[in-house]
């Protein structure tokens, strides 16, 4: 949200004549896309204008609760209960919560409830911080099941999250759709129009080829990682706050007696990840994921990407719950 200036003088949008009921685990962006499908509007601009009152960027609606505060204007009868539910089920708020510093979650909830402007959103809360793949992603089996169950597929929150390489339910690789993230800025790409039968039948490897050997070799680990991220998407708020995570890191540091968890060297990282069996590969992978944050062979724990923490949790303790229970 860097550079975004909330215009408080902007007229709130009018109530909508229809709005799709969000599906379980559906990304807020996907709900908006389905609204676009239902609205019958002639183009994307008309829908954005209807929803936001101006041609707003949609990128932030993929994972963050940006624009969720407008729900109360769209259907006044539902009020905060729906917003609260959507915050937890249709955004990555719970996952973000583990990274928040004290007070940030309250600010987020205030924004969503319309008590504060979007300027109060933490700046790190941006989809780019979690999805470097650069495409809308999906599990083909989930999409097929959604079509069968609901009549249409939708974009789920989980596959959009960084480091989710496998579907925790079907144990198959997550695919990139043909829709690059940069194109969702001002456009609606409903899954029903993208994930056609041909697209679902296509078996191309959609992830960065460079890391394929790691994903294949460590399939079980990455399935576990996806399960953990999925678990945090539902329960992350319980372990809210970076302080909690740091406390656990400190505990581990004291137990091992050799690490400074505030600043950690590449070698120390490899030592921690030695339990995974491919510590050097994992270390390179983390380095790749946190490109630009690695300086002079040192990682600053606060700067790590969100899902890198989950990867470390998985490597160290198997599950986030076990990690926090340490």
């Amino acid at each position: 949200m860097k550079g975004y200036k909330h215009n408080t003088n902007r007229t709130p949008p009018a109530p909508l004549t229809l709005f799709p009921t969000p599906y379980p685990g559906e990304a807020f962006y996907s709900v908006l896309c389905r609204y676009h499908v239902r609205s019958g509007n002639v183009n994307d601009w008309c829908t954005s204008n209807q929803l936001f009152g101006y041609n707003s960027s949609l990128t932030s609606t993929l994972l963050t609760p940006f624009h969720l505060e407008l729900v109360k204007y769209w259907f006044p009868s539902h009020g905060e209960a729906v917003v609260e539910k959507m915050l937890h089920q249709n955004t990555a708020y719970n996952l973000y919560a583990i990274n928040a510093i004290p007070g940030e979650l309250e600010r987020i909830r205030d924004v969503v409830a319309g008590r504060k402007t979007t300027e109060s959103f933490p700046r790190w809360m941006h989809p780019r911080t979690v999805n470097p793949a650069g495409y809308l992603r999906y599990c083909p089996k989930c999409a097929a099941e959604q079509t069968k169950l609901y009549g249409e597929p939708y974009w789920q929150v989980l596959p959009q999250v960084d480091e989710v390489e496998y579907c925790p339910l079907h144990k198959i690789r997550i695919r990139n759709s043909p829709v690059p993230l940069k194109s969702i800025g001002f456009h609606y790409h409903p899954a029903s129009s993208v994930l056609t039968k041909d697209e679902l039948r296509h078996t191309r490897n959609t992830r960065t080829q460079e890391w394929d050997p790691l994903f294949k070799k460590e399939k079980a680990f990455f399935i576990q990682l996806a399960c953990n991220i999925n678990w945090l998407l539902q329960n992350g708020e319980t372990y809210a706050g970076h302080k909690t995570m740091t406390t656990v890191y400190q505990k581990i540091s004291w137990r091992k007696g050799s690490f400074d968890w505030f600043r950690i060297s590449e070698e120390s990282f490899q030592e921690i990840l030695s339990g995974t069996g491919n510590s050097s590969l994992f270390s390179s992978y983390l380095k790749y994921k946190n490109a630009g944050l690695f300086s002079n062979g040192i990682y600053y724990i606060y700067s790590l990407r969100l899902c890198s923490h989950v990867l470390i949790m998985t490597a160290l303790c198997g599950t986030p719950k076990a990690f926090y229970d340490l």
Partner: protein
């Protein structure tokens, strides 16, 4: 938004096909025939004291005659058909079903790709519309509008059985076929109507030059699904005759697509002129008669005409009360040729003339004079109808009667004989409705008819509304000794009011 929006109140449905369908459960319960008549009847207020009001006021009061609506048998019939169309149309379009979402997605994809709307796999709506064709002024549109007004046009859904369900339901939407019969005009009228109802801006969005007709047609289909349009009524369908070559076929094909792929029943209303278009399209004829067709002829000069005339006769604002006589009835019929619209206006104009001239009275001659002087534009048509010359009537195709040949051509029915079947003598509308009401109470048709005749025989005014007739007839039934056979009366075998009259039980003086 100009229309009143009703918040959905869900009822438990009896039929399995309708249960757990919020669009049907939010509709009012089905009307019984007796209720339907009572609800369709419009009786403006009237007081004899108003006849003493200043002439300027009385001239204003004559307008009330135009507002009067006397429901007839065929209206009750159309009511039933429309109700069935709406409910069964929704039965295939449950917003909680997968098909609903699949339809929306298919509509969007069709819109993006610019290709036509495809069938959703496994979706076969069993929806049919019907056509109402009848001569101008016979009350087709008024009837349909009166029926539709009994349904909340826009229903707002917010939560259904604890599930958030944010949508609006447009239970009916009526548009007129544009004067030039163009499909673009029709689509734009549809968008404008939706905008008026829902406060949307579709007409603005689709008015740009880039909006092609194909896109508009797809959009119209999509919006029918999105906004849950229960039934689409296209009035003045005969305007298609003015369209360019090929357009009528395209329009009718589009309606068939709406019915087949979206499942929205389409009702077409028009004059006999529309037969020339409809007869060429068997597909349309099939879809247009799924609920049976409704071909409305002029009213015959029989008891139903008499009842209708008596109903309007109540509304008299001249200082002198002019009695209703057979002569008046016949004069009115002669000038109006069985068209209620013309009759009402002739009767209104003759009163206005009597008030304005200070005569405060009128006669049969005045009815003829006024019809001739003040309704000159329709005179050639009325003269043609009076003369019954088929050649002349063909010039005025809007008022031409339906022939057996028309029917045969339209619906490809192999006729065994060229002579039209002799229709049984009709009973008056109110009387028939009263009979239906009594049958609903468990009486046989013969018994119901007999009691209604008795009730009518007891009535001196001769212009009772159906619910009142039904009530009185039921009282007669209750008062009747149990051993007496209801069907065994001197009236048996005779028809309704006519029978009662023949039996000398009716006081002709009003």
């Amino acid at each position: 938004m100009t229309t009143m929006i009703h918040d959905a109140v869900y009822r438990d449905e009896l039929l399995d096909e309708f249960r757990y369908n919020p669009l049907i459960e939010a509709l009012p319960p089905p009307f019984e025939p007796g209720d339907a008549i009572a609800k369709l009847m419009i009786r403006p207020p009237y007081s004899d004291a108003e006849r003493n009001a200043p002439s300027s006021y009385r001239q204003l009061l004559t307008q009330r005659i135009v507002r009067l609506h006397q429901p007839m048998e065929r209206e009750v019939d159309v009511f039933g058909r429309i109700d069935r169309c709406i409910r069964w149309g929704y039965a295939d379009r449950n917003p909680l079903s997968q098909v609903y979402a699949a339809q929306l997605a298919a509509g969007y994809n069709a819109s993006v790709s610019g290709k036509g709307l495809n069938y959703v796999r496994g979706y076969h709506p069993h929806t049919y519309g019907f056509s109402i064709l009848g001569i101008s002024g016979i009350g087709k549109s008024t009837t349909v509008e009166s029926i539709l007004s009994l349904y909340p046009q826009v229903i707002r859904h917010t939560t259904y059985r604890g599930i958030p369900l944010v949508m609006h339901q447009v239970s009916w939407l009526k548009i007129d076929c544009s004067c030039d019969g163009s499909l673009k005009g029709l689509c734009m009228d549809f968008f404008r109507e939706l905008d008026d109802l829902l406060g949307t801006s579709y007409s603005e969005q689709y008015s740009s030059r880039r909006a092609t007709l194909d896109r508009m047609m797809i959009a119209m289909s999509r919006l029918c699904v999105s906004h849950n349009v229960g039934i689409l009524i296209i009035d003045e369908i005969q305007n298609l005759c003015s369209a360019q070559k090929g357009v009528p076929e395209r329009v009718l094909n589009f309606f068939v697509t709406l019915v087949n792929t979206i499942g929205v029943p389409v009702i077409m209303i028009g004059t006999p002129k529309a037969l020339s278009i409809l007869r060429n399209e068997f597909q349309q004829a099939k879809r247009g008669s799924g609920q049976g067709d409704a071909l409305w002829e002029r009213m015959p000069n029989d008891i139903s005409w008499e009842l209708f005339c008596k109903a309007i006769w109540t509304y008299q604002y001249t200082k002198e009360r002019i009695p209703f006589t057979p002569g008046m009835k016949n004069a009115l019929y002669e000038e109006a040729q069985g068209i209620p619209f013309l009759a009402v206006h002739i009767y209104k104009l003759v009163q206005e003339d009597a008030i304005l001239s200070g005569a405060e009275s009128f006669s049969e001659k005045d009815l003829h004079r006024i019809a001739s002087e003040k309704m000159g534009l329709t005179k050639p048509m009325r003269d043609a109808m009076k003369a019954g010359k088929e050649v002349d009537l063909k010039q005025y195709i809007d008022i031409a009667p339906f022939s057996f040949g028309d029917y045969k051509d339209n619906y490809s029915i192999a006729a065994e004989t060229k002579s039209p079947a002799v229709s049984p003598p009709k009973e008056s509308t109110a009387q028939e409705a009263a009979i239906v009401t009594l049958m609903g109470l468990g009486l046989s048709h013969e018994a119901a008819r007999s009691f209604v005749c008795m009730a009518l025989a007891e009535d001196k005014s001769g212009c009772l509304a159906a619910p009142v007739i039904a009530q009185r007839a039921y009282q007669v039934y209750l008062a009747k000794p149990a051993d007496e056979d209801a069907g065994d009366s001197s009236l048996t075998g005779l028809i309704g009011y006519e029978a009662v009259k023949e039996a000398g039980l009716i006081d002709e003086g009003l």
